[in-house]
């Protein structure tokens, strides 16, 4: 099937995964407030299969359906590259990452939702809606659509952050995230307005042509790019816009933190890359130094602060800021190798990060306790299987050979080398080596220290859905570590022709 967007029905086909996800989110919401699902409090039985959990399984069905629609879109070709909605490999690959993140996050939250007595229908519904927002961002070829997708995602995640109302920290984190996020949104919107003022369009293809031909007014464009960088920088939590990250990641419910640190970051990066690499390609000289410094500062500062963290959730928050720094190198490089590396890295980062968080949730007894590094003393010997899994995830986050994280960093370095960003490459390698310390510290506590109290880890339980998520994550991490070829080929094919613009085919009609 060919889509030329001459009819509105074509938008329906092009947005089928998003539409399915939104509709399914409404189904989950309505099921959640109807009949027997309403009394989650009196809900007994196995947390993996009781009433609250069946809403989770229902949400997973929605993710699967959206994934099927996403696969179906590979049979679709779009005419021209000017339409408001992109149907290209870049978007579809990103959608896989978001759907994977959503599926894994839902799987690891079953027991948490049950134990904290969260409202299951709204919880899973908001996760689906946030995922739909991310997919809008990845598929957008118009700054307005990117902005709306960003808002759908952000507002859902603000609500999810403050979701645990019995926990003061959760409420505080939600408020903080909301206020600072609204501030960043203001910058983002002003940036869009300035870019519109400079180029006369919000369509990325039109912006790109205007920038490349030099018709865009330079001061407007430079200010617009700066403000968009601030807006995106906040969402990907790059230093110096990272102030909210540790507090929000620490205060939010742990499954939400896992979802946030993987999927929200991925969505922001995908939109970031498309806007800057495609839209502002002609103004590379303007934004290259800004992003260079942003990447360098983010990598150095985040890794240094992470060294002294004793709370595991906070440590993982700083680690996610550090990973944002590595990914910013790919955007600074702005070539197809780097874009493929970015997609590959986002895939690996999603699974290894959610995997690590899953075990953190298990150790914390599906609540917000036992989050210090000392609580992991002797964990490896009393729970060998989980210990090995967590060690694999930590090694992958650190970028150890044989894991997906290592291959991801190699491809990022390749992209940086293609763009001849030697200093950034050196900083990336050095900060990676520094990061070994704080990742391996947790592993050291797990294997080299003895338990603080007898049977300290006896109560750590991993229910069936979380086991499924862990097995899937560790399989992907190891598979990508040993056989990265096929996934990388896929990522390369996905970004092929991303930066190439069509010859000015109008968006609606021909």
């Amino acid at each position: 099937m060919q889509l030329d967007f001459s009819r509105q029905l074509h938008f329906f086909w092009a947005l089928l995964p998003e539409i399915i996800l939104c509709a399914w989110a409404m189904v989950v919401l309505i099921t959640g407030v109807s009949g027997r699902f309403k009394d989650a409090e009196n809900d007994g039985g196995d947390p993996s299969f009781n009433n609250a959990a069946s809403l989770g399984w229902l949400a997973l069905v929605g993710v699967l359906l959206a994934a099927m629609a996403n696969g179906w879109l590979y049979g679709i070709t779009e005419v021209g590259r000017d339409s408001m909605v992109a149907v290209d490999g870049f978007r579809l690959f990103s959608n896989w990452v978001f759907l994977l993140a959503a599926g894994l996050s839902i799987l690891i939250s079953f027991s948490y939702v049950y134990r904290q007595r969260l409202q299951a229908g709204e919880f899973y519904g908001l996760i689906l809606l946030a995922t739909a927002g991310m997919m809008f961002m990845a598929g957008a070829r118009d700054l307005i659509v990117i902005f709306l997708g960003l808002e759908v995602m952000s507002i859902a995640v603000y609500a999810l952050t403050a979701f645990n109302r019995r926990d003061r920290k959760s409420a505080e984190a939600g408020l903080k995230y909301f206020l600072l996020g609204a501030f960043a949104t203001g910058f983002f919107l002003y940036g869009i307005a300035l870019v519109y003022g400079a180029t006369g369009s919000t369509n990325i293809a039109a912006v790109s042509r205007s920038v490349a031909s030099g018709a865009a007014t330079p001061t407007f464009l430079a200010l617009g790019i700066t403000f968009l960088t601030i807006g995106f920088g906040f969402k990907v939590s790059a230093v110096p816009f990272h102030m909210w990250t540790p507090d929000v990641y620490e205060g939010a419910p742990a499954p939400v933190t896992a979802f946030m640190s993987a999927a929200v970051k991925a969505a922001a990066f995908v939109a970031f890359l498309r806007v800057f690499m495609v839209g502002f390609d002609g103004a590379y000289e303007t934004w290259y130094p800004i992003l260079w410094w942003l990447a360098a500062i983010t990598m150095v500062v985040a890794n240094l602060i992470a060294l002294v963290q004793s709370n595991v959730k906070r440590m993982l928050a700083y680690s996610s800021i550090a990973h944002a720094g590595y990914l910013l190198v790919a955007i600074t490089a702005s070539n197809e190798t780097a874009a493929a590396g970015l997609l590959f890295y986002l895939l690996v980062y999603t699974v290894m990060n959610i995997g690590a968080f899953a075990i953190v949730i298990g150790v914390a007894h599906h609540a917000e306790e036992r989050l210090q590094v000392e609580d992991y003393s002797g964990f490896g010997w009393s729970q060998p299987l989980l210990g090995v899994l967590l060690t694999i995830f930590l090694l992958s986050l650190a970028g150890f050979p044989g894991t997906g994280g290592f291959m991801g960093k190699i491809y990022l370095l390749q992209g940086a080398a293609d763009a001849q960003l030697w200093y950034l490459s050196v900083i990336l390698v050095l900060t990676t080596i520094a990061s070994y310390w704080y990742y391996l510290r947790v592993a050291w506590f797990m294997w080299m220290k003895s338990e603080l109290t007898e049977r300290q880890h006896a109560l750590v339980m991993v229910p069936l859905p979380m086991r499924v998520a862990l097995v899937a994550s560790v399989f992907i991490v190891l598979y990508l570590g040993f056989f990265p070829g096929s996934a990388l080929e896929f990522a390369r094919a996905s970004v092929e022709g991303l930066g190439v613009m069509g010859a000015g085919v109008p968006g609606l009609g021909q």
Partner: protein, 169 residues
């Protein structure tokens, strides 16, 4: 015309400064109404009558009244002075805004007054569909996707607000 423009522009800027300088939240709100009304005035000068009406009805009317309700219901009589930060922050933000305005001003004033292609297209659309139709037509054709996503956005906001504000959990 020029006099009217400077009047409305001055009112808008003065109101905006009033919003951040007012000691009382109700006062800043009323300043904000001034700003929005003055913006509506500049829209009229641009011959965007429909936008001006919408600006008054939606912003100055509905949204500001809601704001007023919320502020009066929540924190009446609370002393705000202690919460306000002055000094360095206000100097910094005014300096930043001034710098941005200074950077942009030469490019705006340098532009020719002749109507560009956008203005011609807008005139043609208004002649064909009328002022309301010129906005409605692209809203439901070219921009139908963002329009629908806005619906999803409102749904998310409502669900989020209800989850966080519901009394019994």
């Amino acid at each position: 015309m020029t006099f009217l423009f400077y009047l409305f522009a001055g009112l808008a800027i003065g109101g905006a400064i009033g919003v951040v300088m007012a000691k009382n939240p109700v006062g800043s709100l009323l300043f904000m109404v001034t700003t929005l009304a003055a913006m509506a005035g500049t829209f009229v000068l641009l011959e965007a009558h429909f936008l001006a009406a919408i600006q008054i009805i939606v912003y100055a009317g509905a949204i500001m009244v809601l704001f007023l309700f919320v502020i009066m219901l929540l924190n009446l009589g609370h002393e705000y002075k202690a919460d306000l930060r002055g000094g360095a922050f206000s100097v910094l933000s005014f300096g930043l805004i001034g710098a941005i305005a200074g950077l942009l001003a030469p490019e705006i004033s340098g532009a020719e007054a002749a109507p560009g292609p956008g203005a011609v297209a807008i005139d043609a659309a208004i002649a064909e569909h009328g002022a309301v139709g010129a906005i409605a037509e692209p809203l439901y054709t070219t921009y139908v996707v963002p329009f629908e996503i806005t619906g999803i956005l409102l749904l998310v906001a409502i669900v989020g607000a209800i989850v966080l504000a519901k009394r019994e959990v």
